[in-house]
Amino acid sequence: VSTQHFPALIVVVPLLLSFVVFTVGLARRRLCLPIVIFALLACLAFAVNILRDVLTRGGTIRYFLGAWEPPWGIEYAVDHLNALILVAIAIVSLLVAIHSRSIIAKELPASKLGPFYTLLLLQVTGLFGMTITGDVFNLYVLLEIASFSAYAIIAMGEGGAPFAAFRYMIFGTIGACAYLLGIGYLYILTGSLNMADLRQLLVPLYESRVLLVGFAFIMVGVAIKMAFFPVHTWLPDSYTLAPSAVSALLAPLFTKVGVYVLLRFLFTVFDPAFSIQMFPVLKILGGIAVIGILFASIMALAQTDLKRMLCYLIVAEIGYIVVGIACANRLGLTGAILHTVNDMFMMGCLFTAAGSILAYRGSRNIENFRGLHRTMPVTLAVFVAGALSVVGVPPFCGFFSKWYLVLGTIHAKQWVYLGALLAGSLLNAILFFRVLEKSYFELRDERGHTEPHGQRRFIIDRIPRTELIPMVLFALMLLFLGLFSNSIIRDIVAYAIPKTL
């Protein structure tokens, strides 16, 4: 296979293999995970190759599906921005899939393993497709593929999970339909659905009222899908009640790909001049994001359920990213793009560690974390790495992206944004301190025993290596992204920012 077909294969391979997984899963469940890992490894290879191609060519790779040229055919377009996101999705989903092996065996009956892995691959297919496509209607279809697999995979959980999935579905469908309506308005005006084509055709129409309505519909749709405050209400319930392996898959990826779609519309489909000057969308988004950050951080403090706490953290992180975009300058946007990628790994790190802790302790309540450092030192260390990164402690990656976000707000002289960023980080620090205090400094363990003095010896967590290694890799990725953030910005992110800024 020649490398020029990689942009298509990164979507086609997981899509086709998801059906293979389903069929194989009916007869031999043990083969499911190897096929999934093979598919994700292949996707990682494609993604890395695409990124390398983009870097060496220094421009957009355009792939025409079925050799139909745009605007008639569907085009896959990869530039620096989505090449970076593709690689991040590939790494995170691979690590999460390996980590899920023993967790999912505890959470779901064996008969559900085949469907679980099928939906996992479909989810990844949708996310890759949303990231790579250059066609707004194709994006809708792939968005729905990702959403449907999310609804179904969340509903696999115990207790209230199907109900939470149904509520998510109502919300998600309103979002997707608003998006569909929005692109319908753009289509009326231009007769085109191709992003690059739309960008040129829309410029003379920026004064049109139909365009504004369409743009507003698209923004609402994307905001719902990326769990932007105040339309985030579907997220805490559904991600908390979903099986841990599922929330570890969805939490890092889905909302961040939504942010990517937002960036695409603000700066590729529409000219930055439109999004910044002609329509005050960035000011509106930024103002709401400030409230969202404070609201979500305070709500996170109020939770006693570890997963629900992390879910509110996602909403706050989305707020940070949007604040960075709302700064509308190079520094803020650098921070926003970097934070999107970093947040995938931070949330992957936190949710996989939380999944292992919950599977071991059996309760989501933070009160039950007493003495965790004695039984699960490595898992807890991974959790701490994620927490430090979210709070923004160097050398973890969260520090660097937040640094650029802060610089962006200062440069834009937006002191309210700056205040929200700093207050949010402070609240996150308090939040994690509460968890870590319970797990490190409480002397009694979960049964209320105090350990006799002098009997402490170092033990490594009694959990399978397939859980331990992906988690540790996540933590190392946080360090890696932090230490190499300079070259990531210089070589990739700098080119992903619109030149006019």
Binding site: F137, V141, E144, F148, Y151, A152, A155, G159, G160, P162, F163, A165, F166, M169, I170, T173, I174, A176, C177, L180, L181, G184, Y187, I188
Partner: protein, 125 residues
């Protein structure tokens, strides 16, 4: 004014259907009625797309003449693209309904009811 209302009646119907659908999703307590609202909402958007492709006096988009020298005027044909897009959207809609009904069956098996307030009460316990 009457021309504005009657001449664009298909768009008025689509707006009305969207409002009915949103009302069903937001205000109804029964999950099945919420699902019906959701379906009406989706179908309203399909109607909108069909409307923008249609043309008064337009015919099906198959070129009628066999003579290659004849001029083909795009204005004589309806625009097939929105209709083709809606084939995909209908498939999406059917899939949504399928998943939603599956979820409702599971919810009904767990709680014995589809009334939202009763399910929430059962979950709080």
């Amino acid at each position: 004014m009457t021309e504005f209302i009657i001449g664009k009646f298909n768009y008025w119907i689509y707006i009305l259907l969207i409002i009915i659908g949103l009302y069903g999703m937001m205000a109804k307590n029964n999950l099945m009625k919420k699902l019906i609202g959701m379906t009406i909402f989706q179908w309203a958007i399909i109607l909108f797309y069909i409307s923008i492709g249609a043309k008064r006096g337009g015919t099906i988009p198959i070129i009628m003449t066999t003579n290659p020298n004849d001029v083909v005027r795009a204005a004589d044909y309806v625009n097939p693209l929105p209709h083709v897009l809606m084939l995909t959207a209908i498939v999406v809609g059917v899939a949504t309904t399928g998943i939603a009904l599956t979820l409702l069956i599971i919810i009904y098996q767990r709680y014995g009811t589809l009334e939202e307030d009763r399910i929430i009460r059962a979950l709080r316990k």
